[in-house]
Amino acid sequence: MKRDAWIAVLLFALVALLPLSGEAYWMRLGTTMLMYGVLAMSWNFIGGMAGYPSFAVAAFFGLGAYTGAVAQKFGMPMGFAWAGAGLLALAFAALLGLALLRLRGHYFAIASLVVAEVLRELVNSMTGLTGGGMGLNLPIPAMASVDIQARFFFYAMLLLAAVTFAAMLLTANSKLGFGLRCIQQNESAADMLGVDTTLYKVSAFMLSGVFVGVAGAVYASWVYYIEPPDVFDVLYSVKAIVMVLLGGAGSMFGPLIGAAAFLSLEELVWRNYLQVHTGVLGLMIVLLVLFLPKGLLSLSQRLGRRKMP
């Protein structure tokens, strides 16, 4: 655990140097990567540790974005709006978890998939509060320059990613993480062994919601205009899952590595194959998952093992 923590400190310190490049493009990419990292690490709590394939990331993200935006619309300072978004996502995850986590496997996946759609329709119809389909404008933060603004949101995402990682590391090395591993491997056996499975699963689900909620709010402030199809996009859920599978499910650095790898692929493919970029990206993901089912992290272990006689 200590080793992982030190590697993470080093990693985040390195990423923190990115603004030195001074290029707006890299700043945008870096902020996006950190945001993807938060989504992927969050999914790891419920999908990787507890083994429940959640598609609720988009729901938490959109909920956070709209909570942050509406709170700021009513004059709440940005920082408080972000925290509020996290708290609401946390509470929502608790209620949703109590209802949905009774289902297992595919049934849970489908139920969690629908949540974002329901929220999107709700937001669409509550025109007075959310602006409905017209979207919602956020106040542009009063900062000296566009450059400083970009840096501010980059560091905000970095901080959020670091906090999410710390939470993940602490969870994995605690009784909660151990219980989640038991549930992931055999839920009924875990139950017979004295694991309060409902409590543990709901806790994992709450952890998978809270940071995504904050990320949504930060994103909303960063782009200062949100609309329902943008923030409740099911692709947020899919991407989070793909990134974790790409990096290595249930591992500590898998989600971050997956996020970086996925974003690089996305950018490269998008730049080079403008017409068919989603197709090419999809193909690459299929190949990666087929040939590296345990993610990119397993590559190093595999190569390492081959050296032994």
Binding site: C182, S188, A189, M192, L193, T197
Partner: protein
């Protein structure tokens, strides 16, 4: 001797089927009670009723003086009811030690970390699995997995241990080892309810035997009286055999 476990009028239905029907039975503190019966008699269902996996449709289950009829399995486990599974259920992706540590931690109330590992190691030594402690649970032989089940059960610090066919699939030498283990566990003061098909095991181990047939309790008593009970013979070997036996003796 006071009763540790008391079942009164316990019935469990699955749709139209009464898997367990109006069973009244008490297990005394410290005894080793054998539960036998033909396949499909409802033995495993009865264990599931006691542990809360399939709560009783009617009747009461009392454990250590308290009503546990509707208690969820994890709470029953924490109160001191441990079970082994007929089909062994380890956590395959964990080491043998972690499997036992999980039991110690979640049901046994041992704190997370080194203390749970230490305690787990003790139980592994007791069942003779200390050398494979760091191996993956999926890599164990069937006999070893059964012993792992014992270790997990013990780590839960049980008052009552429910053993569901711990000897199924074992060879004669392995059965003897398992038998010795059950004796050692009982000697620690743990009350044992054992489901078993091997009469040799039941007769040598149990102070009393209960017989289930079609979900009903048809006989309870000392081993010797049970094997001579005509109803039991009938359940196992059919009416005609029971009659011919009665003719020979009478």
């Amino acid at each position: 001797m006071s009763a540790l476990l008391e079942l009164s009028g316990v019935t469990r239905r699955f749709g139209g089927l009464r898997a367990v029907s109006d069973v009244t039975l008490s297990v005394a503190q410290g005894e080793v009670l054998g539960l036998i019966g033909p396949n499909g008699a409802g033995k495993t269902t009865l264990v599931n009723v006691i542990t809360g996996v399939h709560p009783a449709s009617a009747g009461r289950v009392r454990f250590a003086g308290e009503d546990i009829t509707r208690l969820r399995p994890y709470l029953a486990a924490r109160r001191g009811i441990a079970r082994t599974f007929q089909i062994v259920q380890p956590f395959p992706g964990m080491t043998v030690l972690e499997n036992v540590a999980a039991a110690a931690m979640f049901a046994g109330g041992v704190s997370y970390g080194k203390r749970a590992r230490d305690e787990a190691m003790q139980h592994l030594r007791f069942v003779g699995l200390a050398e494979v402690a760091e191996r993956s649970a999926a890599a164990l032989t069937l006999a070893m997995r059964k012993r792992l089940e014992f270790a997990k059960g013990l780590a839960m610090r049980p008052k009552l241990l429910l053993l569901d066919e711990v000897n199924a699939g074992l060879n004669a030498a392995e059965v003897d080892q398992a038998l010795a283990l059950v004796r050692a566990i009982a000697a620690r003061g743990v009350t044992v309810l054992i489901i078993e098909h091997l009469m040799k095991v039941v007769l040598s181990l149990c102070s009393r035997i209960a017989v289930l047939h079609h979900g009903e309790l048809i006989a309870v008593g000392a081993p010797q009286t049970i094997i001579e009970d005509p109803q039991v013979i009938q359940a196992y070997l059919g009416k005609r055999y029971a009659k011919s036996q009665a003719g020979v003796h009478g």
